[in-house]
Structures are given as C-alpha cells and as structure tokens.
Symmetry: C2
Subunit: 364 residues, 2 copies
C-alpha cells in the first residue's frame, strides 16, 4: 500500500475508533462534520481561494433525526476503506450500489437514491480531510492532454508528445500514487474550454512550437483535469493559462479553475490554481483583433443576470476585471473561441495566442 | 495528399464543374441532393442497416426559394475543399464561423445560425457521397480506448496496452489517413456505454486476460468511436460486443451501433456494425445472476413509450428481441450496469462478463 492510501486508511480507522471509544465510555457516539452550507463558505483574501469556514455540526448515533445519516457515514467509510485495501477505485454511482442493502426483513434500505449517498461522501471527505480521489472514488473521465511532458499512469509511461490527434485521456483520479511526472520541457500549461479548440491547436502542433502542455476539459473541466492542472502548477512550477469563451459561463469556468467553487469549497486548496491567468477571450478582443460584427451572439437575460452577479464576486473586484465584465455587459454580446476562425482557420494558433502570450495580455 | 483526400477533392470539384457546365450551356444550374427525410429512409433487410432510399430533390440556382441554399452548398463545399488542401480539420461550429460573411453592404449574412450550416453539411455529405470526416469536419472528441492493439495516430505509435488508467482519447476523425492499425492480439472489441464501467474493467485489466480492445463512448458513442469500431470489425474481422444499461436508452445505443440511426441513415454503411452483439444487461440478468430487488429503478412513462416503440422496429422483430423488450416492459423496471456492483465491485469483471462470453449468452 502506498503512502497516501496508508494515510487515508488511518484517517478512516481513527474516525471509527473515536466512535468506539465514546461508546465504551458510555457516551452517545458522535462525529463532528464540518458544515458545507453557504453560510460557512468564505473567500480567503490571502490565499485567494474559496474555502470552508470553521463551523461544524455533531452527528449523533442516539438521535432519531441523525441515526440514519450516522449509519450511512460509517457504511460509506467502511466501503472506502475496503476499496483502498483492495487497491480498487470506483464511481460514486457504483458506491451507491455497493452500499445499498435492505435492512434485515424490513423494507428499509440503507440508501434509497444516489442523492442520499453523494452528500454522505462529501461529508466524509471534509470530516476526515481526504479528497474523494483519496477515498478511491472517481467522477467522470473527461478531457485530453498532449504536449511536452512524459508521465507515468498506473505504471505505463505516457509520452504526451506522441499521443497523435486524440491525446491521452485524463483519468478522473490523478493522485501521485497513480500519476507521476517525469521529464518535461514545457514552459506553461494551456487549459482550453473546448475539445474542438484542443483539436485545432493539437493539429497545428501549437504545444510543440510554444513548449507547453495542452489540456481540454470538454466544457467545465472535471475534477481530474482540475486536480492535474493544480499538480502541474504546484509541483512543476508551471504557469497556467486558461482560454474560454467570452461569456459569463466561460468566466465562471475560469473562476472555478482559479479559486474553486462554492459547492466544493473544502477542496479548493488542492484543486484551485489562484494564479491561473485568463488569456481570453477578452471582451476587448473583438476590437483588438478586428473581428467582424456578425460573429457575435446576443446575450440572453440569463447571461446578463449572471454577468451582474459576477461583478459582486470578491475575486473579480480588481479594476481590470470590472472593466472586462462591464464591457461585456455593455456590449450585450458574447463571443465564442471559434469566432476567431472567421479570420482564418489557424488564426488562433498563428496570431491570437502568440500575440497574447508575447504581449503579456492576460488577467490574473 | 493521401488517396482519400484526393478522391474527396475530386468529388467536390466535379460538383462545381457540373454546375459550371450547366451554366455555360445556358441552363439553370442545379444540384441533385438525396432527400434526407423519414419517408426516404428504409431498413435494408439484407444488409441489416438503416439506409437512405433513392429519392432526390433538385436545388436550383434561379429559384427564389432555393438560391440561398444553393449558394450555401457551394460555400461549404469550397471551405471543405480548402480544408482538405491545407491538410487541416475543423469542427462544424468552426465551419459555420469560417463561412459566415456579410454580403456586400447589405445586412444579409451567408448564414445566420449554425442550425443553417449543419444541414448544408449533411446535404453535401450525401450529394458527393463522402463522410463528414472525409470533408475534414469533426464532431466531438469523446471516448477512450485501451487493449491489445498498436495503432498509429497522425504518425505517432499508440500502444494501447500501455495507456495507463486514462487510455488513448479516441479522436473524432479516425479515417485511414489518420489512424492505421498495426499489431494486435485482440480477439474481440468490447464497447461499453459508460466511462465508469470502462475504468472498472481497465483497472481490473479485463482486456489483458480476455485479449480484447476495450472502448467506451461516454454514453451514446460519438461518430469517431462508431467509425473506429466499424473499422476494427471490418478490417480486422473482430467481433463486437456491446454492454449497455438495461433500459430503452441502452437498447437504443446498441441499435445505433448495430444498424445506424434514422437521422444519419446515409452513413450507416460506413458506421454501422450489423453483426454487433448485445451482451447485456439483459432483462433476464437480474434473475440469472441473483441481483437484489433494491437495485432496480422504476421505469418512467417515457421509458415505457420508448420501449413500446422499439417493439415496432423491424430490427427488433426476431423472437429473442421481442422477449427481451417485452420482459423489460412487463417488469416495469430498469437496471444499470453499475447495479452489478451490488454483488461485489469486480463481479462484472470476474463473473458477469466471463460467464456471458463463455456461454455465448448474447443477442445479435
């Protein structure tokens, strides 16, 4: 068993031992679960990430309202411990089936729906302070990677310079016991929102000319992609550039990469890249690059509402960001990355990105 | 330029030359576009695929209702020809931006929305008889592959036995000029619906023990995955097994892999695998494998409606298929692949699949 697995197992075992000790001492067994509500989420100005505050709530065994959740917490904990011991990983959907039993001869099930087991997993993550991936649970497999790095995935050496047009599929679990970084010549990481843009840049061998690692997350990057980008930034000291659509959804994607999300505030520390740079598309790009009027898309009411919300985010309060968002709102239009193709199919590879990088034209 | 690209270019050039010849002869220039309506789609009993009938419609240049579409057809054709000449590929979204212009000083655009350019692409595909991929256009990148095969992708050698936990990302264009098959020891292809199941089977090295190629398409497989499976079947004579959820959506996924879809009937010949085998989950699996009652999911009204529709499909008219669907409808419940985990996390790898394969327990 590797070091991470040993550590996570110890955390799970300690959780159980504490409860046993309480029971042996004649006390009502309880676990303290950090509160995952909005009221307990804050933006840490210094670290520049969204994180969980210190509020906790007790989950008691002898309490009619909490007994079931108490049982579920340990059921999930036991299943994760077993997964780790067997060296296997599974999806959260699978875990639901793994731990679903009918109790005795009753019609009562341990879980009725996955909506019941998912929050228990999140509770367990915060309670024992272990990422879902460390509990051997995974989310969806999405996103691809190519570029100037060699890495090891489950013992297989992956030379990302020789991954063809498809690239290496970024797995959902990218912890150090699964993925190790080897030789690299990359000077930065470029994370793009869309697989079509990834394909364009890969076909043009952008990563080779500019010595980088190119990744896409197929829209909002899944946990595996975010965690991998975090590790590349953290362990290899590579700057991270993000390229998204010029619309509130694109800005939101960037914002989650940068400081984490409110929902999963407890994992920002290991998922977020506070210094991630917003490369584009900027609300000023249309003028700066002379794009035609006909490639813009009218904002919807929902876009406008979300744009205005963003103005209130503390991580968008610096002047350059306010200018970005206000300009977008004022123009009333959105711009997709693909709109750059109106200037030529490889305009993005040959003109747009090199100019942005050369001139340091990004926001942080 | 490779042979495929040369051939496709010739087809596009011929389309244009025909029109020029008509104009020179003083006739109203026209192209004949095979009709893609439901009325012109049929199930070919002999080939066992859904295909387009012989109906065609004329698209005339001097016709107020058709002039714009006529122009659009050639605009898209010219763009595709250029793409092929440059050796570049692009997304259909990109193509929309590439070909969108404002006409002169009018406010008239060549295309207003992508919904206008997409059907033109499909028209062009059927008219010149070339797959979208041969026109250098791609859909989404989705799906991964691992297993006992070495292939070449854009000049890079991909050993799918050494692709770690993530696998090789199946690109959207997998034509012979991009992807070539090299050495393989695989005895069959296993196409699974879900990435979580792919991960489970890959972690257990199912493909190594059973000598196969393992692919998932992240739900409904994208064109790249379907076309690749078709090529593996066709060129390497590998049987194809499909593993999907036991619900109407899962059956539909299988059905599209097998005989194509009504929407894209004109490409069945090069995408469908009429002899693809349905390995599961069968409506009889719950009893056969002693799964607990609590893992079933109630069918919705929509499920029932779709199930009943399937009974009318000519490709499901054989008795074993009728029994399958009728059983599902009668039980009123669905069963996900993940439900097998209630019997143990690797039950699918160690028991379910080996038993099915050993006993020839599938439908065709």
């Amino acid at each position: 068993m590797d070091a991470t697995s040993r550590k996570t197992t110890q955390k799970l075992v300690k959780l159980a031992e504490d409860v046993v000790a309480q029971a042996s001492a004649g006390r009502n067994p309880a676990v303290e679960v950090p509160t995952r509500s909005l009221a307990n989420v804050r933006f840490n100005e210094k670290k520049r990430i969204i994180e969980l505050g210190g509020d906790k709530q007790k989950r008691l065994f002898f309490n009619v309202a909490q007994a079931k959740k108490f049982m579920q917490t340990f059921l999930v904990g036991a299943a994760c411990r077993e997964l780790i011991a067997e060296g296997k990983t599974t999806s959260i959907r699978d875990l639901y089936y793994l731990t679903k039993h009918t109790l005795g001869k009753t019609k009562q099930n341990t879980f009725e729906e996955q909506e019941e087991s998912d929050p228990i997993i999140e509770d367990l993550e915060v309670t024992v302070d272990a990422l879902r991936e460390e509990l051997h649970l995974f989310a969806s497999n999405k996103g691809n990677l190519v570029g100037e790095i060699t890495l090891v995935d489950s013992g297989d050496t992956i030379d990302a310079r020789r991954m063809g047009s498809g690239g290496w599929g970024v797995p959902s679990i990218v912890e150090a016991d699964v993925i190790q970084f080897k030789r690299h010549e990359a000077k930065f990481v470029l994370l793009v929102e869309k697989d079509a843009v990834f394909r364009r840049l890969n076909e043009d061998r952008f990563w080779k000319k500019h010595h980088c690692i190119l990744i896409h997350g197929g829209g909002q990057p899944p946990r595996g992609v975010r965690r991998l980008v975090h590790r590349l930034h953290d362990e290899l000291s590579l700057p991270v550039y993000v390229l998204v659509d010029n619309d509130p959804w694109g800005f939101y994607i960037y914002s989650v990469v940068k400081q984490g999300s409110i929902n999963l505030a407890y994992e920002s520390m290991r998922m977020a890249v506070p210094r991630a740079r917003f490369l584009g598309l900027s609300s000023f790009d249309k003028e700066r690059f002379g794009l035609p009027d006909n490639v813009t898309i009218q904002m919807t009411e929902d876009d406008e509402r979300r744009g205005k919300q963003m103005l209130a985010y503390p991580w968008f309060e610096q002047k350059p960001w306010r200018r970005e968002i206000e300009r977008m709102l004022k123009s009333g239009v959105k711009l997709e990355i693909e709109a750059l193709s109106s200037m030529g199919i490889s305009f993005i590879t040959d003109e747009y990105l090199p100019k942005k990088l050369r001139e340091g034209d990004w926001l942080e």
